[in-house]
Amino acid sequence: MYTSVLDWLDARACDHADKKAYICGDTAVTFKEIADITKSIGTYLAGKVTPEKPVVCMSSRHPYTPAYFLSVVRAGCSYAPIDSTMPVARLKQMLDVADADCMLVDRASYDKASTLGFEGEIIVAEDVLDTPVDEAALSAARAGLTELSPLYIIFTSGSTGKPKGVMTSHHSLMCYIDAVSEVLNVTEDDVFGGQAPLDYIAAVRDIYFPLKAGASTVIIPKSEFAIPTELFNTLNRNKVTALCWSVAGIEVPAKLNAFSECKPEYLKKVCFSGAVMSSKLLRIWQDALPDTMFVNQYGPTESTASCTYYVVADKVEEDTVLPIGRPYKHYSVMLLNEDNTPVAPGETGEICVKGPCLALGYYRNPEKTAESFMQNPLNDRYRELIYKTGDLGSFNADGELMFHGRKDRQIKHMGHRIELEEIEGAAKRVDGVRTCCSLYQTEKELLYLFYSGDATPKEITLFFRAQMPAFMVPRKIVKLDELPALPNGKTDMNALKAYFK
């Protein structure tokens, strides 16, 4: 039985010492090197941190970044990764939520980090790499860790306009990785092609499969996704066997018709999640790679990345609706009505999850935590938490879960989840925006903002580009004299949909 991901790391540093764990271009880091780095940086951090507070990590897209995350763990803390390419205003919001004493950054991110008004200590990882290891201090930090200690905080969009920090334990993460490893049959021979930003939930697979199984992950530079031939060359040069990508990422090469000229030669398994996969685009992958296994995954950050999966059995047709399948090992799923009663067989209800993979909650947000993580209403005998996903689903005749969208106004766009209220909240901060409403045109994957007021669409875009991550910038901004209203005074969203092009 393992207590923390450090047990995985230390085992791999023995049995796969010189194997490359993370690779990017010509740079790579071995398991032994990761163990050494984490011990040195961990020693430096150990005296400065408190276990209840995360260390914020801002580090670029390279193989050392996961090692920096794990250095924080070595010091007995959780890490809260943030992406230096996000606008300053957004990063400041995340720092506010994190309330950290220390920030660990790579040298390339230092200048950005120092503009964020952070009052704690900013530590440049490269500067403390050679700290002599203090085994006693590390043992003391480790003795404080249990399976339920927080491992990371991942930020997601919040409907109140502030990001929420989802805090997850070592145990949850290890259960999840264990479950997915079984389905994908992950071995030390696997080479993963990492697509997700390292600060994003989807990256936990790319980071932790190597630690669990002795596999490797190639961290693919972001720019290559725009150039499919380069992307496939990278996959082939590194003999990549497995991808765990967002649906948005999987769709890009298919949309750009990349398979007409080249294809990944070594891919055995492709796992996608984060949105509903287009059958048409999946079929393009299936036709190009007939012997590859495709797995549809479903689940929110709050249940540690995913909770159900479906191994695509046959080639899909254009009208195929993929199930989201069955719960992974360590997970259990049930469907509830609005009044917290179980749905009748075959009927649609809110997807609720239970098991050890539930997150510890929203960091420093007990109200929101209590709202979403609640006592199982079907069990009045002992304490058993469920997470209410806000997603709707039903079980089909084969006992597989089918996905039916959201209860609220959360959408999935470019692999990220977004609360439309948060887009509207931001738009209202633009001078000259009187009223506004944000909608998503699913078929064309376009984020719309309708507004009234004196501001120009360009001013609004510039504001969003300065304040919000790129995936939260509306693509279509439509100015109206007045927003159409329902008799009760609320915005008539159906009427607005007439403006979709």
Binding site: A226, V252, N257, A258, K458, T461, L462, F471
Partner: protein, 75 residues
């Protein structure tokens, strides 16, 4: 060229397309921008941009994009 600029400016009003010459190499346009752009250019000019056309040199500036469109229209 005007039509290309119009499409680009609608796609990303925050970018100075007249002067920017490192759209892809500089990370100004990401893969989602490229997918949207390729779709719009294909539709607007009735061309087919192939994967082999998707190299940074063809997309680093509005001028380069326009040159690619003109080349494909001639084919």
């Amino acid at each position: 060229m005007e039509k290309v600029l119009e499409i680009l400016e609608e796609l990303r009003p925050d970018v100075d397309f007249e002067n920017e010459d490192s759209l892809v190499d500089g990370g100004v346009l990401d893969s989602f921008d490229i997918v949207a752009l390729v779709g719009e250019l294909n539709d607007e000019f009735d061309i087919e941009i192939k994967p082999s056309d998707l190299v940074p040199a063809n997309f680093n500036s509005a001028k380069a994009i326009n040159a690619l469109v003109e080349k494909l229209m001639d084919e």
